[in-house]
């Protein structure tokens, strides 16, 4: 992957299933992605740091040593804005400031150039962090994730702040989930396992493809179970509405140092039918994007039977095929 303009990274979140079940520990996750040829690493702090939200120096030193052992580079430290941790109220400004400042300090300590935070940071606090991002020499980025799209008003504010202060230390991490369409295989299999009938779901999808709205679609189908109605609504909201247009990616690129290449399931040697990589990748290449695209496998939300390693392997192959025809 050495000389190509678009760089590949991987979020360890992709190995959620193997890590959760204990099949792989942290080191085994790193070893696995290194063997796949990945060089850049994203760490989801709340997933793999036992002392989260306050990682010990010992843990961080050990993590840095592990990266070195497998010749991996820290690229993105994924932070959360856990607004809802209290039962009585949302986090207040002081608390959001504190956790963000800490995450930037931990990221800097471990050598991550990018910190991914979430939109709930608020424009006010995001702007307060600018001098710290400069001082710590990290890029504070906000993930743009489904169900948000670039047209949600707060994103206009975030872009204004980035225009004002520059993108040297600020940025957006588009997650390809904002572009997804057509339910993926694991989604449908799980819905069927939970009681929905396959022909009914397929019929609903066909009607949605023709541009029908959700109530009209439900009206056209006979004798649906309550679960099927819920599922069809969920399919509509997740795959046939609220998606960003692929062209919107062009505007985002100006702010983008890192992309979440979100996917759920890939068949061998085939394009993704859910996330339009085949349109997005040529577009970012054409625009001259030279940041990272990070492989983010999320099928583990739907099945624990799939091999994440195999999926990550198929993604690289597909990306190389789409980008470079190899």
């Amino acid at each position: 992957m050495a000389d190509k303009q678009i760089k590949y990274a991987v979020t360890l979140y992709s190995m959620s299933c193997e890590y959760f079940t204990g099949k792989y520990n942290l080191e085994e996750c790193l070893k696995a992605v290194a063997e796949m040829g990945y060089k850049g690493i994203e760490l989801v702090a709340a997933q793999m740091i036992p002392e989260y939200p306050n990682p010990s120096r010992e843990w961080m030193d050990e993590f840095v040593a592990l990266l070195k052992r497998y010749q991996l580079e820290p690229i993105c430290y994924s932070a959360y804005i856990d607004m809802g941790i209290r039962s009585d109220r949302d986090l207040n400004e002081e608390e959001i400031f504190q956790c963000t400042l800490n995450d930037m300090m931990y990221a800097s300590y471990m050598g991550f150039p990018i910190v991914r935070t979430q939109h709930a940071i608020t424009p006010k606090i995001f702007e307060q962090m600018v001098p710290y991002a400069r001082k710590f020499n990290v890029k504070l980025t906000i993930e743009l994730h489904r169900p948000h799209t670039p047209s949600v008003p707060v994103w206009q504010e975030y872009m204004r702040i980035m225009d004002k202060h520059g993108t040297e230390n600020l940025g957006i991490v588009p997650d390809f989930s904002i572009f997804q369409r057509t339910p993926h295989k694991l989604y449908l299999e799980l819905a069927i396992k939970q009681g929905a009938r396959k022909p009914v779901l397929e019929a609903a999808c066909r009607i949605f493809e023709e541009g029908a709205e959700v109530e009209a679609t439900i009206g056209k189908l006979d004798s649906l179970s309550e679960f099927e109605i819920v599922t069809i609504k969920d399919i509509y909201s997740n795959f046939y509405s609220n998606s960003a247009d692929v062209e919107e990616m062009r505007t985002l690129l100006k702010y983008t140092p890192y992309i979440h290449g979100k996917f759920y399931y890939l068949e061998e040697d085939q394009d993704d039918t859910c996330v339009p990589f085949h349109k997005l990748l040529p577009l970012i290449k054409e625009e001259g994007y030279s940041g990272y695209i990070s492989s983010e496998y999320e099928g583990h939300h739907f099945s624990t039977e799939v091999s994440s390693a195999e999926q990550l392997h198929r993604l690289i192959k597909m990306e190389n095929r789409i980008l470079y025809g190899v």
């Binding site: 959760f20 856990d82 099945s303 624990t304």
Partner: protein, 140 residues
């Protein structure tokens, strides 16, 4: 339709129930559970934690939630925003019950965790998941 729930099958750990013995007499029993998510959470995000054993719902006053080397009353759970539940740390559910559980047969344990995902307030709301798991466990 629930994605995000694939780990619910792992809530109850595949380890035998242990009786809690004081002065040679069983005063209760305990078993272990995991938080069913790709990431850890704060204990305060648990909105409901319901335990049933052999089909009988356990009274919360007889239950203890043990994590991070501390023991909590179920009533304290909503307040524990400074207790992080790492996904590889099993919590111990302790049930006070005279004489503990009989060892001559397996027992059916059911756990229901209703939990708020603290970062999902995309439009002011939080995703609240309702995760359940039932397993037959031996008594050690």
């Amino acid at each position: 339709m629930a994605g995000f729930q694939a780990f619910a099958d792992y809530i109850i750990c595949e380890k035998p129930i242990e009786n809690v013995v004081v002065n040679g007499q069983a005063v209760g029993y305990e078993f272990e559970i995991k938080y069913p998510s790709y990431r850890g959470t704060y204990v305060s995000c648990i909105e409901k934690l319901e335990i049933a054993v052999d089909g009988r719902e356990i009274d919360p006053k007889d239950l203890r939630f043990c994590l991070n080397h501390k023991e909590f009353l179920f009533a304290q759970i909503p307040e524990l925003y400074s207790e992080y539940w790492f996904i590889h740390d099993n919590a111990v559910i302790r049930v006070f019950q005279e004489d503990g559980l009989a060892k001559d047969r397996d027992h059916e344990v059911s756990v229901r965790i209703v939990h708020r995902i603290p970062y999902t307030g995309y439009f002011g709301d939080y995703l609240v998941l309702d995760s359940a798991n039932t397993k037959k466990l031996q008594v050690l």
